[in-house]
């Protein structure tokens, strides 16, 4: 009755999503894009700021989605990469006076490197163990950021204040609106790039690993390389999101990047639908607006509301927003007939 004799039937970490089902159709995409372009013209500055945050968290959730929905690996530690991106950007801007736009690629590269390196030990872990290691990473990150050694750059517990950029070329729009469009351009670039990545050779390798690691390796997929690559890409994109977040919030501090943020991003992915890229933004809207509503009812309630809703999603719509989108599509089709 040794463990070796058991037949391992489950082994699946994530339910597979067909490649075609990962994105929206062209028509819908253009419609969403038009809405995103026009909305800031008619709403107040605070709402523009919230929309900017929606896009930023959306990018971070998208990054997690590439890792989990694409390659089938977990991470409860995305807040750590988000923090590293935010700090990279803030330090470059404040200490070295680098232009804010130029800090984004640097943040991306730094996080890619860190993610790739963390991916190396993570290679040997799967499922719960990986979740555990990344969980520990997320809880450890605020303490690392508060460390005395780094204080000249990180500002220790106090954190750093970042200036908000003005619109360039004397454009007659507010700072918030400029930042929104700036974020939107980068978000679209990352979104398109992610779709292309998942449709490329590398993306197919990710999905092969997700669906069956052993079969993938026997087909000649370099499992170690692609797993760490997925980790690196995901961390890099999260880092860019973190850098954007630092610019938008104008402040970085260790306690903004706790395990709560990692849980929120994870939640955003589950709510949006694992493996469905547009769902990332639905999930991000969820994690931004639901806590606000819950806190307005009672302080400290948001955690409970998050948890209850997460259970509801798991039990009622396990595929998240993707499932709702499919149902909506079917209804629309029936109405047309």
């Amino acid at each position: 009755m040794s463990a070796a004799e058991e037949i391992v039937a489950e082994g699946q970490a994530v339910e597979a999503v067909p490649k075609r089902a990962m994105t929206l159709g062209t028509g819908t995409s253009l419609l969403v894009l038009a809405v995103l372009l026009l909305v800031p013209l008619v709403v107040k500055n605070f709402i523009i700021f919230q929309l900017t945050m929606l896009l930023i968290y959306g990018v971070a959730v998208l990054a997690l989605n590439i890792l989990t929905g694409g390659s089938g690996q977990f991470s409860l530690g995305q807040s750590a990469f988000y923090a590293i991106g935010a700090y990279t950007s803030a330090i470059l801007m404040e200490t070295f006076n680098v232009n804010y736009a130029l800090t984004l690629p640097v943040a991306g590269i730094v996080c890619f490197a860190v993610g790739f390196l963390f991916g190396l030990p993570a290679l040997r872990l799967s499922g719960v163990y990986l979740a555990l290691a990344t969980f520990a990473l997320a809880t450890a990150m605020p303490q690392l950021l508060k460390l005395g050694y780094f204080e000249p750059w990180t500002g220790g517990v106090q954190g750093l204040v970042v200036d908000k950029p003005d619109a360039p070329f004397g454009l007659p729009i507010s700072q918030d609106m400029w930042l929104y469009y700036f974020t939107l351009v980068i978000t679209i670039a990352i979104y398109v790039a992610s779709i292309n990545l998942l449709r490329s050779r590398s993306g197919r390798a990710f999905m092969a690993i997700r669906d069956n690691e052993i079969a993938a390796s026997s087909m000649g997929v370099n499992v170690a390389l692609y797993k760490t690559l997925a980790f690196g890409v995901s961390a890099g994109i999260t880092g860019v999101a973190g850098a954007l977040g630092a610019i938008a919030v104008q402040f970085v501090a260790p306690d903004s990047y706790t395990i709560t943020l990692a849980i929120a991003l994870f939640l955003g992915m589950v709510v949006g639908g694992v493996g469905w890229l547009p769902g990332s933004f639905v999930g991000s809207a969820f994690i931004i607006f639901v806590p606000n509503m819950a806190e307005s009812v009672s302080k400290g309630l948001s955690g409970a509301v998050f948890g209850v809703l997460l259970f509801l999603v798991i039990f009622l719509i396990p595929h998240g927003a993707r499932q709702l989108a499919i149902v909506g599509q079917q209804l629309a089709g029936r109405l047309r007939r």
Partner: protein, 292 residues
Amino acid sequence: MELFTNQVLAGISTGAIYACMALAVVMIYQAIDHLNFAQGEMAMFSTFISWQLMQWGVPYWVSFIVTLAFSFVAGIAIERVLFKPLAKAPILTNVAGFIALYSIVNSCAGLIWDFTIKQYPTPFGSSPFLGSQLISTHQAGMIGVTLLMLLFLFVFFRYTRIGLAMRAAASVPESARLVGVNTSWMIALGWGMAAAIGSVAGMMIAPVVFLEPNMMLGVLIYGFAAAVLGGLTSPLGAVVGGFLVGIFENLVGTYIPGVGNELKLPIALALIVTVLVVKPAGLFGRPIVKRV
């Protein structure tokens, strides 16, 4: 040399905390093959219950027993209502479930008892133990309780019918069902026992770290580290791992300059990653061999 022995002693007493938590972690891992990320929060909630009972004037040991019973029943209830339907779901769904539970319990404790730090009594007193300055009677009591729980678990799994049934259900569910073991209820029982052990851990830890909704986060990470070091399949390993982690933490803090209390969690992280990479089965665990 005296510094070294003193630090080892101090390490053993903090290690008892981690050993308690690691026992609960291993208990649930044995039953369901998952790490319960909400374990720490469940323990914290139980501790709050006992605190509330004591506030109402219930004596310590009565509230201890009541809390134990409550945690046992609550653990079973959580399994029956929330996690039994997820048994066949992908790992991701289960992890999401644990995260949801974590967030609900943490938030509810904050709502009911708010986030201020509370004193928690100890039944053992806090005078020096046998004249030693390093180890208090509470810490000695905590070590004693940990070892007692370990002994209880050992006897339970080794010599009782139901313990045998639980082991069977965990290692070969199909065959266990064929010989008439109700595997589904064995899992629920595992949840209940893990919750009860967790509540003991919480009540032992609370006098040291003080009672508040976030008290368990650091302890849980160290409990995970201890469980991983000892091997996730072995209760004895969990306890030994707990003590080792406690000693390790103290020695690193003493001998490596610049590593103080502020680096507690990164040390645990490094430890977890190192053990998982170098020896994934831990010190006492059995390696998992998969058939392709």
